[in-house]
């Protein structure tokens, strides 16, 4: 599984939503996509997932242009979860996860035991088995997020693109989701996850891609990408760092330069 962008860009109505993006998603790793609102994170995900086609450059899956794949073949390789997980119709959780089998089923084919096993494991992995009979309309935001992740897992795709999966979650549920993503990456999935919280990105991601004004500004290990200089340029905030007793580094952000006496 190798998913990469080659100087890819997308232009709509004369406006570049993403420009000159070149990255390679490291296989079997967790990559965090960070950047301010409107910097092109979601568009980059759409490009990588083949949901939008590039107007410049190319998206390559296993050294072949993503254009040469059929929609359904892509769906078996790359799974995507949207930022908005709301579903207004009263499907059961099990049915929603079952939708992940769509790319494996022929038009008139029914779910086989094999499909059911995949659904079962996806639900088990995302810890939503106990919700199987519940209606998605009655779930909390955290539960719904886990359900859409289970749906993505049910496709058995190698790559998962998760668009801000923890944006609306409390810290406990957010950590659950990120732990799950890290485990999935260790088990062999290639994961790209859009995040707003730089601390969480630094802590969980193997690599970080920083976007600014529709371009990729930096990509690599968190220490290099999330430098004070980068953060100041991209987000317009000052950064201070503290070291926690557990040996982790914690970032703090300030609109104005912080007075050092307080630290």
């Amino acid at each position: 599984m190798k998913l990469e962008l080659h100087e890819a860009g997308i232009q709509i109505d004369g406006c570049w939503l993403v420009r000159d993006a070149t990255i390679e998603l490291a296989a079997q790793s967790l990559t965090a996509l960070v950047g301010p609102n409107g910097s092109g994170k979601t568009t980059l995900m759409r490009l990588l997932g083949g949901l939008w086609s590039a107007s410049a450059g190319d998206v390559m899956l296993d050294d072949k242009s993503i254009r040469s794949y059929k929609r359904v073949d892509l769906a078996r390789r790359i799974a995507f979860t949207p930022q908005d997980t709301h579903l207004g119709f009263a499907f059961t959780v099990r049915d929603v996860v079952g939708m992940g089998r769509h790319p494996h089923l022929g038009r008139f084919e029914r779910e086989s035991e094999r499909d059911r096993a995949a659904i079962y494991h996806a639900m088990q992995r995302a810890d939503v088995l106990h919700l199987a009979e519940r209606l998605v309309t009655q779930l909390s935001g955290g539960e719904r997020q886990r359900v859409v992740i289970a749906r993505a897992l049910a496709t058995e795709a190698d790559a998962l693109l998760l668009d801000e999966p923890v944006a609306n979650l409390d810290i406990g549920h957010a950590l659950d989701i990120l732990e799950l993503c890290r485990e999935l990456a260790r088990e062999g999935k290639t994961i790209l996850i859009a995040l707003h919280d730089l601390n969480l990105a630094a802590r969980y991601a193997d690599e970080i891609v920083l976007m600014s004004q529709n371009r990729i500004l930096a990509a690599g290990a968190s220490a290099q990408v999330l430098s004070d200089d980068h953060i100041a340029r991209v987000f317009g905030v000052h950064t201070t760092r503290t070291h926690t007793p557990t040996g982790e580094t914690s970032l703090h952000f300030h609109r104005r330069p912080p007075s050092t006496q307080n630290l």
Partner: protein, 403 residues
């Protein structure tokens, strides 16, 4: 891709889970997903059974189909039996069977000639048209609600009903409808498709057709066409009796329907219904959002076009043979969804049956409530459909999800 678990197994269950997942992954890396039975992880049958579709739902679905089919049969027989000349239900069944089954299997000796004519040439086509229209509108409604992700969408939302009505009104106003029985349905069909095509063109941009724009374009075009219809009714060069005929037609009705009407509607309804049944899973996925659907392998724009076309075929067929009958397409799928859930593989066939039973029943009421006067069918469907709909909304307020 070789996957090795870097973490020592914490306990038996996680170990199992991890090994299972690894198992899947190695199988999957072979690309073409050679997912065969021996690849099924050795999870206990019970566990896989846990994700089996609920047996309660299956039983409920079977019960629903049984009840609605029985209602349809009863409504059809009652619809043929009841009227200005009463025919005994037994006679109705005998006449119908004698016509359907090979000659000589069922004897209709003793059934008078006029009774046979009433049953076979007057009431049967009317009831069949009612059933076809009810089924067509309900299917089209279910499709539109799925496509627009909005339980309040109805078949007329993309302008097909209005376009069909305008075509029919033109046929009536120009006097062509009086010349041959086929002009009105033909005009109506053409009108429905021109309207859909117009709405689709207006809403499409860069090869994409956002449903929100589609909806707004539909609303705009519907009012425009409505204005044209009103103009034609009130224009002085249209004779008064023709204008009244148009008004009557716009209200929807099934009076004087013949076998010709059945043959006009039947092929369209069959084709539309078959197409709708092929795309049920795609519609389910579209409810989860177009991007999600695309990421799961649905060719979103193609499915949209196909679903719109089949809905237009169904709506066009029903407008062509029955005029403007409202509320069937809105209420019926809604009721079915409350009973059987939103999955289209159940929703669409169940809506078709329910819509057919509903409209045959409504037509029966239209003919009998104020005998010998006949109430327009469109009035009955709205008068019964709307309050029932309100009742459902109040009762299931919390369960009905809105976008």
């Amino acid at each position: 891709m070789k996957v090795t678990s870097r973490k020592p197994p914490v306990d038996e269950t996680t170990h199992d889970a991890m090994r299972d997942t690894n198992h899947n992954l190695t199988a999957h890396s072979a690309q073409v997903t050679p997912l065969l039975a021996d690849d099924v992880p050795r999870s206990p049958d019970l566990a896989v059974a846990a994700v089996r579709p609920a047996s309660i739902l299956i039983r409920r679905t079977l019960l629903y189909f049984f009840v609605v089919t029985s209602l349809l049969v009863v409504a059809v027989i009652a619809g043929i039996a009841v009227g200005s000349t009463q025919v005994a239900p037994g006679v109705v069944v005998r006449v119908l069977l004698s016509k359907i089954l090979p000659v000589g299997w069922v004897s209709i000796a003793g059934v008078s000639e006029p009774q046979q004519i009433v049953v076979w040439l007057i009431r049967t086509p009317r009831v069949i048209v009612a059933a076809l229209v009810g089924a067509a509108l309900a299917i089209a409604g279910a499709q539109m609600q799925g496509l627009f992700k909005n339980p309040l969408a109805s078949p007329d939302i993309v302008g097909t009903s209005a376009g069909g009505a305008l075509g029919a009104v033109l046929a009536l106003a120009t006097g062509l409808a009086a010349r041959s029985l086929f002009y009105l349905p033909l005009f109506s069909f053409v009108g429905a498709f021109i309207a859909l095509f117009g709405v689709y063109i207006i809403a499409s941009r860069h090869g994409r057709t956002p449903v929100a724009t589609l909806l707004l374009a539909g609303v705009a075009l519907t009012s425009l066409i409505g204005a044209a219809n009103s103009f034609l009714i009130t224009a002085t060069w249209v004779r008064f009796d023709v204008a009244q005929e148009i008004t009557f037609w716009l209200l929807g009705g099934l009076d004087n329907r013949t076998w010709e009407h059945v043959f006009v509607a039947l092929p369209c309804v069959i084709v539309g219904a078959c197409v709708s049944l092929i795309y049920t899973r795609d519609l389910d996925l579209l409810l989860a959002g177009e991007e999600v659907a695309a990421s799961l392998g649905v060719e979103v724009e193609r499915v949209k076009r196909i679903v719109l076309t089949s809905a237009a075929l169904l709506t066009g067929a029903s407008v062509a043979v029955s005029g403007g009958i409202g509320f069937v397409g809105l209420v019926v799928p809604h009721v079915v969804r409350l009973c059987l859930g939103p999955a289209h593989r159940r929703l669409i066939p169940a809506s078709a049956l329910t819509g057919a039973a509903f409209l045959v029943g409504a037509d029966l009421l239209a003919r009998t409530l104020l005998r010998p006067e006949e109430i327009r069918l469109g009035i009955i469907t709205a008068a019964f459909g709307a309050p029932f709909f309100i009742y459902l909304l109040l009762r299931h307020r919390r369960e009905v999800g809105y976008v």
